[in-house]
Every structure is written in C-alpha cells, then in structure tokens.
C-alpha cells in the first residue's frame, strides 16, 4: 500500500498539471469572452477566425513552411547521415558536434542572426554587395523563411537517420555484397529500405516541427507580413486591442487539432521503426565505404551547409553585438563598441533576465529532472493501466507549441486562487517549461532507466528491500550518470527556450528568450544582439560541459 500511494499521487499530479491547462484552452475557445469575465458558451470565436482572411493566409503559409522544410531537410539530413556514418569522409569525428549546433541555438536567436547577417544591411549582404555589386536574395520572403527553416532542421533528420544507420548491422550489407550487389545496389536494395521506417518517422517529425515553428517566422516574416499560425496567434492581441483570449484559444485549439494526431502518429511510427531495428543483425564494426575523390566534394558540401546554418547567423550576432551601427561603406574597426553589453548590464530587468535564465537552467533543470525521475520511477517496470495512461499524458504536451503552453499556464495561474501569488514568480515559468519539455525529459530518464538490468532490482527485492528502497539504493545510484546527462541537456533546452515564457513575462519572471521576443517587437536591435550572444554563450557552456562529461547529445 505504502508503495502505491506515492505512485498514485505522482500520476494524479502529473495528469492535473497536463490536462488542466489544456482543458482550460479548449474551454476558453468556446466562450464568448475571457473566462474571468461574464461570458457565455458560444462558437463565435471560431466564427471570427474562420471569417478572418489572415487566418487562412497563415494556415496556408504554415503548410507551405512545414512541407517545404521536409522537402529540404529530409534528403539533406539523410545524405548527411549516410556520409557521416557510412563513408570515409575526412574529419568525420571533428564534424559530429558542429552539425548538431542548430538544434541547441534558440530559433529566435537564429532568426535574428540571419537578419543581421543576410538582411538588407546585414554583414554578409554588404560584403557580398561590395564584391558582386548587388544582393540577389531577400531574407524576408516566404521562400527564404522556408529555406532557412529547412536548412536549420537538417540536424533533426540527421540525428534519427544516423542512429538508424548505425544500428543497421553490417552483416546484412555484407550478405548483399557477397550475393553480388555493388555498394550502390546495397544502399538502394538493403540499407535504405531498412532505415525507411526511421525516415518516415523523421518526415512526420519535421512536418510537425514546421507546424509549430515560431521564432523564425516571427523575426523573418514580420517586415513583409508573412504570418504563420503561431505568429498569427501572437499578433491577435494587437489586432483587436483588447485581451482576445477566446480567439487565441480557438487558434490554439485548431493548431492542437493538427499536432496531436501527428504526435500519436509519431509514436506509432517510432515503435515500428524500433521493431525494424530489433531485427538488426549483429552490428560488427562497419567498414566505411571509400568515397575516393568524391570525399572532397562531400566535405565541401557539408562545410557549405555548416557555413550557412551555423557560421553565418552566429558570426552575424557576434559582430552585431560589438558594433554601434552598420551599413554600406562603414569600416568595421571604426564602429567597434561594448556599449550594448554595458546597456544590458546597466538595466536591472536585463540582469534579472540573465540571472533568472541561469536559475531556471540550473536549479529549475535539476528540479525538472527530479520530477521526471519521479514519474519515470512510478512507471518503471510496471506494465499496467497506470503506466500506459502516463505514456499518453507525457505525449500530450508535445502537441502544444510552447507559446500556447505558456499562455495556458498563465491562465492557470490567473484562474486558480492559491496559485495567483505565484504568477509573477519564476515558479510559473519553470512550471510551464517543465510541462512543455515533459516528453523530451521523460525520454532521457526512461532511456537511462532501461539501462538498469532487471535482475539488479530483483536481487534487491529478494534480499529484503521494498520497492522504494530498491529505487533509492539501487536504481537511482545506478543511473547517476544518466541523470547528470539529462540535467545538462535540460539545462541547454531551458536556456534555449523562448516562446513558452512570452505570455508569462512580467517583472520578476524575465528570462532571456522571452525578453528577446519582447525587445525585438520594440526594435531594440542593439540589446537584442547582446542578449542573443549571452544566450548562445550560456548554451555553449552547457554544451561544453556536456561534451566534457561525455554526455550523448542524442539517443
């Protein structure tokens, strides 16, 4: 009894934390006004957005971005994975980490980086113009947004296809070679069909990520007014001037209606992909495919991609944060300044944002990992109805884009009397972050827990330890390293997060990500540049520590 009680409490608290905010969004969407004011049940919010041509435009753009991203990212990511895993490309070891950088840089920072690098008066645009006379691209067009989104999502595809390729035993390929297939035929007839479940999964994942993309279209779509559904939602407040919560809730519900089935689909596809992997042969050491002279072309293409999706935005931000102004004919050395950083450190809001970001990454990250661990232990090696229920609860927040999850949590803190005093504390932001990244964190914890041999725990039971003692004395000490890794990854993810804090932003709850979104709207480019650099530096420190401790950046 004593063992089942905390378990039920953990699961009940989890279910409440996930379903109450989500339920509030759906409930709000069928009210005629904000839930805290007298309002009646009605569908007028849906009627409003259906009548709004901007909504349809945003929906169209969203599909264009999601599909375009897939068309660009999936082939490139799969080829990149094949080259990195299966060939003798020079410098493969050295390239592994830089390839993953775009995943860990906040999209809003990335978007800003492209503006200051490739925008009308961006560094690279000006340099290009100096050499070639004119600039053939327009960073603010929808096509540019799609290309940038596609190229910066290549690492997501790379992650899943490379691990599928690694798991593919070389014996199945060798068997094909011995039966008389050329290396090309082996790839076409054996390797690619065997990783196709992983590619299918990744296709759905990329489409899903495209559907809830926010930072890039917010920054890049603004000047020419290209809206996607998330930015449409964000701009709704300005549109009517009054808090139009019911309209926002209606848009949110529409988005979730698309993303939730996608999340369930991903789950099914991932399971089938893993079943495929389970049939793998023995994975002996794979002999890399010799590329011959082609390896230099392959290397050049990878470096070009890295240049565009890592070097260009990062260099842009770094430069922009140390120059007072920039444009045609300005000598870089004349405009160097540290004023922007001084401005950041002079303003108490900014200092608070930095301290809060650090707090939420370190302390908040540790608390979140602790919470994920409690949930993980509650379902560990128990294949019953409660565990299956938890499986689905954990998936649910995945379907809710951070912007809306933050909004929902904000409403919860408005709505529930005893939570109200906590609204303007960092706790509300932490709570939203922990919910938004629940699925991610649980995957880290569960994969650590799966490493523990069941007989080690059974041995504990046999010599007289209760379930709780086994968890405390055996399971948790055994996954110490996994927990440290999870904490570091959650730290990076929490530093990178920006959209979730947007609606929770108030004096006392500033975090760097949300602060950048809010400052960008006010046009404070100098401070945004400095904050962006600080933000990247924080993530970079996390990354360096993680690499130092040998944390695997993916599973």
């Amino acid at each position: 009894m004593l063992q089942t009680l905390p378990r039920r409490a953990v699961v009940a608290l989890l279910a409440l934390s996930v379903f109450f905010p989500l339920g509030l969004v759906v409930y709000q969407s069928v009210l005629s006004g904000p839930f805290f004011m007298p309002a009646s049940l009605s569908l007028e919010s849906y009627a409003f957005i259906i009548d709004d041509p901007d909504f349809w435009l945003a929906a169209k753009n969203t599909f264009a971005v999601a599909i375009g991203m897939g068309v660009i990212a999936i082939p490139l990511g799969a080829i990149l994975a094949f080259i990195m895993v299966r060939t003798d490309l020079p410098g493969r070891k050295w390239l592994e980490t830089p390839i993953l950088i775009p995943i860990f840089v906040s999209p809003v920072v990335l978007g800003f980086g492209y503006v200051v690098s490739l925008g009308p008066v961006g560094f690279f645009s000006v340099w290009f113009q100096d050499i070639f006379g004119s600039v053939p691209w327009n960073i603010y067009s929808l096509a540019s947004i799609i290309v940038i989104a596609g190229l910066t999502h290549v690492p997501h595809v790379y992650l899943y296809s490379s691990s599928a390729l690694r798991n593919l035993g070389s014996d199945v390929e060798e068997a094909a070679r011995l039966s008389g297939a050329s290396p090309f035929r082996v790839a076409r007839d054996v390797s690619i069909p065997m990783v196709s479940p992983a590619l299918l999964y990744v296709g759905v994942l990329v489409f899903f990520l495209g559907f809830e993309i926010f930072g890039l279209p917010l920054i890049l779509g603004d000047p020419e007014g290209h809206l996607v559904l998330t930015t449409y939602l964000y701009k709704l407040t300005n549109k009517l001037g009054t808090p139009s919560y019911h309209l926002m809730a209606a848009v949110a519900t529409c988005i979730i209606a698309v993303t939730f089935p996608l999340v369930l689909l991903q789950r099914v596809l991932l399971k089938s992909a893993q079943r495929f992997v389970a049939m793998k042969g023995k994975s002996a050491r794979q002999r890399p495919l010799a590329l011959g002279p082609w390896k230099w072309l392959a290397l050049a293409l990878i470096l070009a991609w890295l240049f565009f999706s890592v070097v260009v935005p990062v260099v842009g931000i770094a430069l922009r944060s140390v120059v007072s102004s920039w444009g045609q004919g300005i000598n870089l050395l004349d405009v160097l300044t540290l004023d922007h950083f001084r401005a950041v450190f002079d303003e108490s809001t900014m200092i608070r944002a930095i301290i809060n970001s650090l707090l939420i990454g370190t302390l908040g990250g540790a608390l979140a990992v602790g919470g994920y661990l409690a949930i993980g232990l509650a379902t560990h090696r128990k294949n019953d109805a409660i565990s299956r229920f938890v499986d689905y609860i954990v998936l649910t927040p995945r379907a809710v884009p951070g912007l809306m999850a933050g909004l929902a949590v904000f409403w919860v803190f408005l709505f529930v009397p005893f939570l109200t005093p906590l609204r303007s504390t960092l706790f509300s932001v932490w709570f939203a972050y922990a919910i938004v990244w629940l699925a991610y964190g649980m995957r880290l914890i569960q994969s650590a827990l799966m490493q523990v041999g069941p007989e080690l725990e059974e041995a504990g039971r046999l010599v007289g330890a209760s379930n709780a003692r086994v968890s405390r004395d055996i399971t948790v000490p055994l996954i110490r390293n996994g927990l440290l890794g999870a904490w570091l990854l959650v730290f990076m993810i929490f530093e990178r997060e920006y959209s979730t804090g947007v609606y929770l932003l108030s004096p006392g709850t500033e975090v760097i990500g949300a602060q950048i979104v809010s400052l960008w709207a006010s046009g404070a480019v100098d401070v945004v540049a400095a904050l962006s650099l600080i933000n990247m530096a924080l993530v970079g420190v996390g990354l360096a520590v993680a690499l130092r401790f040998g944390v695997k950046l993916h599973d």
């Binding site: 080690l456 059974e458 504990g460 039971r461 046999l462 010599v463 007289g464 055994l478």
Partner: protein, 355 residues
C-alpha cells in the same frame, strides 16, 4: 507433508497473458535437500523458481515456506518478494556494480537493521567462508566470473534464508570451470546443510548436484525422483530422451511377453526390450537405449545384429563408434579403435526401453 518439509508448492499455475507457462505444478523440498528443476527451455523451470521467489505472478495454487503461506491464490495471500526471506543466486549474479563486494553482501543485513559491528563481523564471516575475504573492497567488475558467483552466493546466504534458490548457477562459467564449481557448490550446500532449489537445463549438472530431480515439460512435472531413478528408470519417452545420450529408433511392436516386448524396427533390426507402453502388437513404438549400454560383440546372439561400422571417433577417454543400420545412425562406446566393416552390435534387452 512431514515437518521436515521446508518448501511446498501446491498446484501452482501461471500464465503470460493467455499463454499458460505453469499448468499446476506441485513439489516439496525437505530440509537439507537439494532439488533440481530440470527441463528444456520453455518448460517453465525458471518461471517456477521466480514464482517461488515472488518475482512472477501465479494465478492459482499455493507456496508455503517453513509452514508460512507466502502465496495462496484461494486465501488471497501474496507476500511481496522482499518479505519472503529467500535467497536467490541469479544466473547473471546480479551484483550491484555501484557497491563494493562488502557492501553487496552487507546490504541485506543493513535492510534488516542489524547493528553495524555485527554486519562487519557477519559479512566477513560469510566472505571468509567462500574464500573471498581479501576481495571485500573490490568492485564486482574487478572480479573473475567465478569470484562474482561466490559473492552472489555470499549475498544470498548472509541472512540465513531457510531456502536458497539458484537460477542456472553454473551457466555463466566456462566449460572447464563448470565441473570444478559443480563439485565445490555441492560440497558447500552439503556442508552448510542448506535447502536448495536449483534450476538447470543440463542433465549431468542436475544429477551431480541434487538429491532429487524434477523434470519439467511444457509447464507440468513429467517425472521426479533421485538421479539414479531418473536416469535408470525413465517412465516416459520424454524422460528417457532428455536424460543421457541415446540411440532412438522407431518401429512397430512385434510381440509381447509380460513386461517385455519385441519391436520390429524400421531399420530392419528386431530387438527385445522392457515394455513401457500399452501399445498393442502392430502399433508404432520407439526403442531407446543409452549409448553406453550398446556394445560391440564377437558373434551372433540374443538382441545382436550385424551392422556396418562407418567410423570410430576418439573422445579422449573412449572411442565412439558410428554404425549404419538402415537409415539410422547408431552409436556405441568402446575402449579401442576399430576399423570400418561389419560388426555384431549388442543392444542388451534389459537396457532397451520401448515406449
């Protein structure tokens, strides 16, 4: 059930979903006795051990240890594994990699709130008993397979459980060490007067180590008895086939005289043997004879046949002869090398079982 009985399993049944694994197993273990659960993979022997330990969930029957019901489906009793006070030596040893040898062995005592000085003393006594005292501060990964196994045994014995369960205790050791460990383990169990239930899939291991053997097949006990009974008087074809190495031939019953029968084999031979089947004359049957019972004879005689010797193989301590008899390959053992050719092979009537 006498008061010497320490473990009683009564009509235990267990299923994984709709797939029955144990179909009503009953057995007893007496104090100071070693019983082996023997059977092919999938026979349910490990499941039975784990059900006794409380790691699997039966749905019918009962388990009693030293007069205390630890599982009883009818009475709704299901004592959790940690309250059963049993010792289990895992196949993989399951030593906790984050604890030293000392801490591994001390943990059960710590859970039982034994005083610290007594823990030190009892752990060292247990380790010394198994010749491990000098390794107390090592971690499991710094030990050899045999040492890990001893630590695992020390951990299971340190709190004096009434019954010790061993799951394939020798299977993780290499072939040569296995025979030495078998003798060592048997000696330890006898010296310490332990009551042990051992799971194994190796019939010679079962015979060497135990006082009694339970042979499981498809979730039921096929036969139980002492090693000599199991080997010398198999009641069913399955038991005869599973124990020992055999020549097995099929044919039809040709004649019946009391407890003996003649079988006319498909390979053309015809032999008398002990009748273990109710099949009538003309019905299909199988003849089984241990390889060591068949031997080469000099001339014709009762239960002898002339067959082709194909090859002799040197096995170190003996030769194995391979004969052709119709479509069957027959084997026999002998002391010297024989050149191929016609030979008289004797299958003694009291060593042939007809099922």
């Amino acid at each position: 059930m006498t008061d010497k009985t320490i473990l009683t399993v009564d009509n235990l049944a267990l299923s994984y979903g709709s797939n029955p694994i144990l179909k009503g197993v009953s057995m007893q273990l007496r104090r100071g006795e070693v019983v082996s659960l023997l059977g092919p993979s999938g026979s349910g022997k490990t499941t039975l051990l784990r059900a006794v330990a409380g790691l699997e969930q039966p749905h019918q029957g009962s388990v009693t240890i030293a007069g205390r019901a630890i599982y009883d489906a009818a009475a709704g009793i299901d004592v959790p594994a940690e309250k059963r006070d049993l010792g289990l030596v895992f196949q993989s040893y399951a030593l906790w990699p984050h604890k030293t040898v000392f801490d591994n062995v001390a943990y059960p005592l710590k859970l039982r709130k034994v005083a610290q000085n007594e823990i030190v003393q009892r752990v060292h006594a247990a380790l010394k008993n198994l010749g491990l005292d000098h390794l107390a501060e090592r971690y499991p990964h710094q030990l050899s397979g045999g040492q890990q196994q001893r630590v695992s045994i020390a951990r299971a014995l340190v709190y004096n459980p009434p019954v010790i369960l061993l799951d394939e205790p020798l299977s993780n050791l290499d072939a040569k060490m296995r025979e030495e460990a078998r003798a060592w383990l048997r000696n330890l169990i006898v010296e310490m007067q332990l009551s042990a239930l051992v799971v194994t899939h190796d019939q010679s291991e079962a015979m060497a180590m135990s006082d009694r053997i339970l042979l499981l097949n498809g979730g039921v006990i096929e036969q139980q008895g002492t090693p000599t009974e199991m080997y010398g008087q198999p009641q069913t074809y399955f038991v005869a086939d599973f124990m020992g190495s055999n020549n097995i031939m099929t044919g039809r019953i040709g004649d019946i005289k009391g407890g003996e029968a003649r079988i006319d084999l498909d390979n053309g031979l015809s032999v008398w043997g002990l009748r273990r089947t109710n099949a009538a004359i003309g019905h299909e049957a199988k003849a089984v004879i241990r390889v060591e019972q068949a031997h080469v004879a000099d001339a014709d005689g009762h239960n002898r046949a002339e067959v082709d010797l194909v090859t002799s193989m040197f096995l170190g301590d003996r030769y194995e002869y391979v004969f052709h008899a119709g479509k069957d390959l027959l084997r026999a053992w002998g002391k010297r090398h024989e050149v191929p050719g016609k030979r008289w092979l004797e299958l003694p009537g009291d060593a042939v079982w007809i099922f």
